[in-house]
Symmetry: C2
């Protein structure tokens, strides 16, 4: 039987508060605000369960492992900031994207990511720190 642990609650809270796709590490950091000693394995276990329950969806990231956000949002796409590495929801979809495919292709889905600088990083005064290069 499934138990309501503080760790699961902290992970739910982190995902809800962010309202954007988070990497497992970002989920970990968010959850640590509630449960400082939570471990990364617990985050991966929770992601697996949440995906199975369809309470979160995986979001593909160009050139990186997927991130995860709450399921049930209307169809939308994402912006990836190449400075702070955060992924942010963009409302809406241009539509008609399937028309790019010539006849004979069966289009079932599409992935669209805009890449650049988010408002925080584009503004010269309030820069967020650059993404940390992977720890050695």
């Amino acid at each position: 039987m499934q138990r309501n642990t503080q760790q699961r609650a902290a992970i739910d809270r982190a995902l809800a508060e962010a309202d954007r796709p988070l990497s497992p590490r970002e989920i970990l950091e968010g959850a640590r605000r509630s449960v400082p000693d939570i471990g990364i394995a617990t985050v991966y276990r929770a992601i697996k369960d949440l995906l199975a329950e369809q309470r979160v969806v995986a979001v593909d990231v160009p050139g990186a492992p997927p991130r995860y956000e709450a399921a049930g949002k209307p169809h939308h796409h994402h912006f990836l900031c190449r400075q702070c590495d955060r992924m942010i929801d963009l409302p809406g979809c241009p539509g008609q994207l399937s028309r790019l495919a010539p006849p004979g292709f069966s289009v079932e889905n599409h992935e669209l990511t805009l890449i650049g600088r988010c408002p925080d990083c584009a503004a010269p005064k309030t820069r967020r720190p650059r993404k940390q290069p992977a720890r050695k």
Copy 2:
């Protein structure tokens, strides 16, 4: 001084003949038609050099490592067949994609991939084999 080896020529040929983004493994298989004993390390070394010379570009693949195709083509996007796993060029771009981003975002680039079945796999008679599950 750079030498013109059979291996490099085979890799160039594989990329040119495919005219679509290839994974390192696909490049290896293509090149082996010319040089049967070529190794994967040689393919990675060639990719690195070709990227530095800007003779090929990396193409991001949702949920997989990047593939590589000849540089210099007009702006275009790609189709990913979820059955045979091939990536295929699509001509053109819907345009105006930057408009999805609210004011404040600085959009520098975009990635668009349509996903589904390519004509070969969608047609019931001439199915290509499914992607091989990664070798054990």
